[in-house]
């Protein structure tokens, strides 16, 4: 059977989605968080919680990553860097904001030097609340994002608010 050009496109798209869902590489950026969320992200990839069983790999370079795990309220100095990391990631890219302060500024909401959340700077696809969220919550958030990808619907940019994913 010879497929039409469109047919091939569909097949390719399916393969791409399959690959993306089964081995998403994540990068972690700390935009001025208190570390609490960062150690929980690390705890998530270590043996007790083992996020790697979903094929998730923590990656050092933004150019290799599909998902940006971002913590912190985005300080003014980190803002440029966050934008640059985001721009360096290949399309399609997804952003997960982890922790209350990445969602809204949290405890640092009134600080003079913070932007008040990751979605003030870059579009966010999934929000994981908690100060810090438990590793289970982080896994849950990432898995929900993966399910979304599987259904092929890229989340509308900046469209979701905390809690809407569940």
């Amino acid at each position: 059977m010879i497929l039409s050009e469109k047919g091939w496109q569909t097949v390719f798209d399916r393969i791409k989605t399959w690959a993306r869902v089964n081995s998403p590489w994540v990068i972690h950026f700390n935009s001025g968080s208190c570390n609490g969320c960062d150690i929980e992200i690390l705890a998530t990839i270590t043996p007790r919680y083992d996020l790697e069983r979903f094929g998730v790999k923590l990656q050092g370079s933004p150019r290799h990553a599909d998902i940006l795990l971002c913590t912190g309220p985005v300080t003014r100095q980190a803002r440029e860097r966050l934008l640059r990391v985001y721009e360096q990631m290949p399309e399609p890219k997804f952003v997960v904001a982890i922790g209350s302060c990445a969602l809204s500024g949290g405890a640092f909401h009134d600080c003079y030097n913070t932007m008040g959340g990751v979605d003030q700077v870059i579009p966010v696809d999934a929000y994981i609340p908690g100060c810090p969220p438990r590793p289970e919550a982080i896994i849950d958030g990432v898995v929900k994002l993966l399910q979304k990808l599987q259904q092929g619907e890229k989340a509308e940019v900046g469209d979701q608010k905390p809690g809407e994913l569940s």
């Binding site: 208190c34 570390n35 609490g36 150690i39 043996p47 640092f108 913070t114």
Partner: protein, 366 residues
């Protein structure tokens, strides 16, 4: 044309997003071939302006805020802050509360040192040790969660006392967890002082002499690994450390291996201390009444964080909000040593030298 003698010098920028570090800091190393000839550091990416915010909030709200200076040593920050405010108000927390504070301080030190062991093993390219130590660290995280209800920011302190109590059940769980950890720590101690590939990365690398340590004013385990006997828990006992004195662990060698050994031995010391506190926990109240307005005055509060001396300055003008709160954290004291020690080493050794001081940028930048 280039000859061998006039080789080009490169400057290598690292960070703020960097695979080896989980936190933002920016470094510039000038290298000659593989050898580092100069280093500079730029900090401040995690500066949020906490101290300024503290002036807008009242004394009680600030406990929540100062716990979030650093997620790794959150209890230490809150303890330093609360002890300072209590001193200003002329209130002393009851003995049981002080003992529980000390208990959580030591549990936090255990979690922090295990975390550090994993992260620096990762820097040394020893990911197996990273995974094992983080697996074991979950034991103490469980204990902290059972005791306080949270894995990271424990919220144990209130002004004038603590809000959690140690029940017999939790005490038994802690004893059991510590037995397991103690056995593992002996194993790690053996690994870091005998594994050949690990020793190649650590032994004789990043040596800081005692004199250098004193001149640069490094603090905490980094200083103690260079033979400087400095520990606030002994020099100026706070909370219940006067009743439960720890032993100072020092090592004269000053290299990276010594920093591993010192921190691991401190773990063993912490296990002993936690057991002792549990065995002799004073009875009594958990809190005393605190006035809402704090008498005007200023004070200094020092505690020994897992990374070294933590220093708080507090000033009150008699209202319910502080006039000034300042925190000086151990990382800033230790950071100079990285810039100095990196020179002359291979670029590949630098991440491990940096990890050796157990840097915490979010404490440092606040």
């Amino acid at each position: 044309m280039q000859t061998d003698t006039q080789r080009e010098r490169f400057t290598i920028p690292i960070g703020p997003q960097h695979p080896a570090l989980k936190e933002p800091g920016h470094f510039r190393f000038s290298v000659d071939g593989e050898i580092v000839t100069g280093a500079t550091v730029r900090l401040g990416y995690a500066h949020r302006g906490l101290e300024k915010l503290a002036e807008k909030q009242n004394w009680v709200q600030n406990i929540y805020l100062f716990e979030r200076v650093c997620g790794i040593c959150s209890h230490t920050h809150a303890t330093a802050y609360c002890l300072g405010v209590e001193r200003l108000a002329g209130v002393i927390a009851p003995p049981r509360a002080q003992a529980i504070r000390t208990l959580v301080c030591e549990l936090e030190r255990i979690h922090s040192h295990l975390l550090w062991l994993g992260v620096s093993a990762h820097e040394a390219g020893f990911d197996t040790l990273f995974m094992y130590s983080w697996r074991d660290r979950e034991t103490v995280m469980d204990l902290l969660e059972a005791l306080t209800g949270n894995r990271v920011n424990y919220s144990v302190n209130v002004l004038g006392g603590v809000k959690v109590d140690v029940t017999e059940e939790i005490a038994q769980a802690i004893y059991k967890g510590l037995d397991f950890l103690e056995e593992r720590t002996h194993h790690y101690l053996q690994v870091v002082s005998s594994d050949a590939s690990f020793l190649q990365r650590a032994r004789g690398v990043g040596v800081m002499t005692r004199q250098q340590a004193e001149v640069m004013g490094v603090v905490g385990p980094t200083a103690r690994a260079s033979g400087v006997t400095r520990d606030i828990r002994i020099e100026a006992p706070y909370a219940a450390y006067a009743d439960f004195p720890p032993q100072v662990i020092v090592d004269e060698r000053g290299d990276l291996e010594a920093r591993f050994v010192v921190r691991l031995k401190e773990l063993l010391e912490s296990y002993r201390l936690v057991r002792e506190i549990l065995a002799r926990l004073p009875e009594g109240e958990l809190t005393v009444r605190m006035p809402r307005r704090i008498k005007s005055g200023e004070t200094v509060s020092r505690v020994e964080a897992p990374r070294g001396e933590l220093f708080y300055f507090l000033k009150s003008n008699g209202t319910d909000t502080p006039v000034r709160v300042h925190a000086r954290t151990p990382t800033i004291c230790n950071m100079t040593s990285v810039v100095r020690l990196a020179v002359g080493h291979q670029l590949a050794d630098v991440p491990l030298i940096l990890a050796g001081i157990d840097p915490c940028f979010s404490c440092n930048d606040r």
